[in-house]
Symmetry: C2
Subunit: 141 residues, 2 copies
């Protein structure tokens, strides 16, 4: 009974997604499956963290998939009942113990704390918890 | 003053890293910079979520970088004082508002709830919050 979960941590969203997608049933399963352009609207108090990100960059958005069921450990991949159940950690299913979404997007432009990005499958209002650069080769770091 | 942070979320670790790295000062900056092999030791109550992951798979580990300073918004990239400061979201610096680490590793083997992986730069005891598959092409999903 080693219990790693004895220490919890608090995620404080840094902003929210602004998107034409309003329900998970309309959302594509991944960003490269015809997901629309969207805005990452950051809180003004973290805007300084955006310095160095520019149009054309590829970035990773970590979100909190707030509609997920955190008790789920097994799913039919892609919701396809003809496929056998698999563990959630072997899938990108949103329902999982810590429903953190991972989205790779391209920056189209930045206006203050608003970041315009392409191909994001998260729905309108999804909390954003982190942004990271896509790393290039070791030589470029 | 739209305040996305008015709703916080609780991350409950699903396990911990077991690694020969014991301090962040010894740890490489990225997994592909000579990071050692390590174990992901999951809690037994989430073990069912591993079904479908096998030796040879590439997976993404999300960790909680518990020694990070969450108030930091600007850093010298890679701790190099000769480089101008940049916003944390344009870097992989561990210190950031939500210190979630993103690690791409290869599975070497699985024994129950212990996952042996190659090239992980997180230190011993780092809480693990999620595992995800690296996605292949759209046709393979």
């Amino acid at each position: 009974m080693s219990d790693a979960s004895s220490t919890d941590f608090t995620v404080r969203p840094i902003g929210r997604v602004e998107s034409p997608l309003t329900s998970t049933s309309d959302a594509p399963r991944q960003g490269d499956e015809a997901a629309p352009d969207a805005y990452l609207v950051l809180d003004s108090d973290v805007q300084a963290g955006l310095d160095g990100i520019a149009a054309g960059d590829e970035i990773i958005v970590l979100s909190w998939l707030h509609e997920a069921d955190r008790k789920v450990l097994r799913v039919h991949p892609r919701g396809d009942l003809s496929r056998p159940e698999a563990g959630v950690f072997s899938t990108r299913a949103p329902s999982r113990p810590n429903p953190i979404g991972l989205h790779r997007v391209r920056v189209l432009g930045i206006d203050g704390a608003r970041v315009h990005v392409s191909g994001l499958e998260a729905i309108d209002g999804t909390p954003i918890v982190d942004l990271k650069p896509v790393l290039g080769s070791i030589e470029e770091r």
